[in-house]
C-alpha cells in the first residue's frame, strides 16, 4: 500500500509522534550529520547524504549498562537495565536498515541479547529512500538498493511536493493516521550505482588466509577503530564491571578487532599479534565468518569505512584485490 503526504503533513505527523515517543533522527551536530534523539521536529535533516556514523548506535549504543547489582540489607539485588520508552528511528537509509537486519543475526539468535531485543521490539524504523547515490555507495552490490524497503517498517521516498509512503509492516501501519491519500503513480527510478564484484568473494577469500597480502595492506593501517565504529554491521563490544560503594554496574562499550588487546587472553596469549593478522580479521569476519554463520556478507555497501579511513583502506579495493589474487592463482 503506497500513500502520499505533503512535507507539511509529514512534519505535523512527526510532531504528534514525538509527544509519545522518542524520535531518533539525523540532525546537524558541529558540521556533521548524526543520528540523535530530537527535542523538536525542526531539528531533523530531511536532505542529507548519509550520517557520519551509522544508526546502529541506537540498538547497540557506544556505551550502555547491562545491569547493576546492589547490596541492600544483607540482600544482593540484581537490577537489569530496561528500555523505558517506545522509539522511532527516522530517516534511516536502506543500507543502514539492512545493517540492523544483519546485526539481528548474532543478537537475536537464542539466547538473544535482552537489551538489544527490547530496543528492537520497541523501535519502529522509518526509512528514507536515497534519491541520489554518493561516490562511496555500493549498496546494490551488497544485497540492498537505494529504494529497498525490505528492512524498514515504513519507507518514505521524496518526490515533488512531498513523500511517497510505503507501509511495509504491521508495526509501521500502526503508526499511521487515517486519511492519507493513495499514491497511484509509478515509483521514481532509483539512482544507478557503481558495482563491486562481490560474486564469489566468500569462496575466494578462504584461499588467502596465509597470503602476504594482509601484511602488505596492514603496512599503512593505523589500527584505529574508525572503520569498525562507523560500520553499520560491526558489533564487537567489551564488557567491564564498575564497582562503586556497594554497587556494581556491568557496562559494555564498542570495541574493535583492530585495537591492541582485543584478542589478548588471560595468561597473556594473543592469537593475533601482527598488524596483518589484525587487519585480516576485519575482512575475514565480514566476508567469510559471518556469511558462514548467517548466510550473508556482513557489509551493506554504505561506503563509510572507505570514506572515513585516514589511510584509504577500502573494502571495495580489498574485494577486487582478492579476486585478482584468485585469478592469478587459478592461472598459475
Amino acid at each position: 500500500m503506497n500513500l502520499f503526504i505533503s512535507k507539511d503533513d509529514l512534519i505535523r505527523w512527526l510532531e504528534l509522534l514525538l509527544r509519545e515517543r522518542i524520535i531518533i533522527a539525523p540532525i546537524r551536530v558541529q558540521g556533521q550529520t548524526m543520528f540523535q534523539p530530537i527535542s523538536k521536529v525542526e531539528e531533523i535533516m530531511f536532505d542529507f547524504d548519509n550520517t557520519a556514523l551509522s544508526s546502529k548506535g541506537w540498538f547497540l549504543p557506544p556505551t550502555e549498562t547491562l545491569f547493576s547489582v546492589r547490596r541492600d540489607d544483607g540482600q544482593i539485588k540484581l537490577m537489569p537495565a530496561t528500555v523505558e520508552r517506545d522509539a522511532i528511528i527516522f530517516g534511516i537509509r536502506p543500507c543502514d536498515a539492512r545493517g540492523i537486519a544483519l546485526m539481528d543475526g548474532p543478537f537475536l539468535q537464542v539466547p538473544s541479547d535482552t537489551l538489544y531485543q527490547e530496543r528492537r521490539n520497541r523501535t519502529t524504523i522509518i526509512g528514507l529512500a536515497c534519491r541520489q547515490a554518493q561516490p562511496e555507495c555500493f549498496c546494490t552490490s551488497m544485497g540492498s538498493a537505494p529504494d529497498d524497503p525490505s528492512h524498514v517498517d515504513i519507507l518514505l521516498t521524496e518526490v515533488k511536493d512531498g513523500y511517497i509512503v510505503q507501509v511495509v509492516t504491521e508495526k509501521g501501519k500502526a503508526l499511521l493516521p487515517k486519511g492519507w491519500a493513495k499514491y497511484k503513480r509509478k515509483m521514481p527510478t532509483p539512482p544507478q550505482l557503481k558495482t563491486v564484484p562481490t560474486k564469489g568473494i566468500v569462496s575466494a577469500i578462504r584461499e588467502f588466509f596465509n597470503d602476504p597480502y594482509w601484511e602488505r595492506l596492514a603496512d599503512r593501517c593505523l589500527h584505529c577503530n574508525i572503520c569498525a565504529y562507523v560500520c553499520p554491521t560491526c558489533y564487537c563490544f567489551d564488557v567491564r564491571d564498575y564497582p562503586d560503594k556497594g554497587k556494581v554496574e556491568r557496562v559494555r562499550s564498542w570495541e574493535s578487532c583492530q585495537s591492541p588487546g582485543f584478542s589478548l587472553t588471560a595468561g597473556g596469549y594473543d592469537p593475533r599479534t601482527t598488524k596483518g593478522e589484525r587487519l585480516r580479521q576485519r575482512f575475514y569476519h565480514k566476508l567469510l565468518y559471518f556469511p558462514e554463520r548467517f548466510q550473508e556478507v556482513a557489509c551493506v555497501g554504505c561506503g563509510r569505512c572507505g570514506k572515513a579511513c585516514p589511510v584509504n583502506i577500502d573494502i571495495r579495493e580489498v574485494i577486487s584485490d582478492l579476486h585478482q589474487l584468485a585469478e592469478a592463482k587459478s592461472g598459475s
Binding site: 551536530v29 558541529q30 558540521g31 556533521q32 557520519a52 556514523l53 557506544p62 556505551t63 561516490p135 562511496e136 602488505r216 603496512d219 599503512r220 593505523l222 589500527h223 584505529c224 577503530n225 574508525i226 569498525a228 565504529y229 562507523v230 567489551d238 567491564r240 564498575y242 557496562v251 562499550s253 564498542w254 570495541e255 574493535s256 585495537s259 591492541p260 588487546g261 598488524k275 572507505g306 570514506k307 572515513a308 579511513c309 585516514p310 589511510v311 584509504n312 577500502d314 571495495r316 579495493e317
Partner: protein, 288 residues
Amino acid sequence: MDMELIQQIRGKARSLLEEGTVEGVIGYERAGDGVTSRPLFAYDSSAAERLIFDDTCTHNLVKYLLGKRGKKMAVMVKPCDSRAINLLLNERQIDRDKVFIIGVGCPGVVETEWNHKSETLQARCRSCLLTKPLVYDVLLGRELARKAEEETYSDILEAEAESVVSRREFWREQFSRCIRCYACRQVCPGCYCPVCFAEQLEPLWVGIRIAPEENTLWQTIRTFHLAGRCIGCNECERVCPVDIPLSLLNRKLEKDVKELFAFQAGLDPEEPPPFATFRKEEMPELGE
C-alpha cells in the same frame, strides 16, 4: 603535480632499493579515489614507480618507522614531519643509522577528505615557519620561502580569552562526541607506549565507557602526555572522525611549554626535553 620532483623521488627510491641501502621506502601514492594520496610502502623498484608527491600528501609517515624498528627504511619527510624524526631521535626511539631520510621541499598541503581536495592550505601550513626539513639524507625539490613570519598563536589567544565556564562547556560538548576510536593516538608519532594508559587494566586509569567524563579524561591525559612533545603535524585532528579541534589543546600546551621552558619539540635531536630533565632554576618556587 611537479613531475620533475616525482621523477627524482622515484629515482632515489629505486636506487636505494636496488643498491640494498634500505629494505623499503615509505612514501606516498595516489589513493583509490584518484584524488587524494595515501601512504605507500615500496619494497621493490616497480612499486617505487607508484610514488608521488603533491599538495594532498598530508600524512606524517614518520609514525610508521616505529613499526619498522630494526629494519633499514627510507622515509619521505616534509619540513613539518622532520620534527617528528627529531622527536623520536631525541627520545631514542629510532636509530639514525637505520633511517634514510628523503627530505622534500613542500609548498604546503591542502585540506582533503576522501574523493575531495580543496584549494585551501591547511591551517598548520599557513603558519609554517620551516623552509626545508630540519634533518635529511637527501633533499629533493626546492627550499621554499617561509609561509608565515612568526607564530602568533592567534587561535589559542582567542580561546584563552573565553571564560572558564564557556571553555568548560565548549570542551564538554566536543568530548561528548568522541567515540574513543583512538585514531588520534594511532596516527601520532609521539604516541608509542607499548601499553597505553587507556588500555591498562591494573591500575585502571580510564574506563571503557564512551561517555563525556571518561572521554574527557582520555583526551586530557593524551594531551598532557604530548606536552613539550607534540610536533604540530596535526594529523590527530585530521583523522578525527567527529572533528574534535585537537589542535587547540596541543597548541595551547606547545605555547605554554615555549613560554615556560623556551622549548619546542622536534627542532633539535639533542636538546634535552623539559619533561625529561630537572633544572632547579626553571621553577624557583618549586622544591625550595
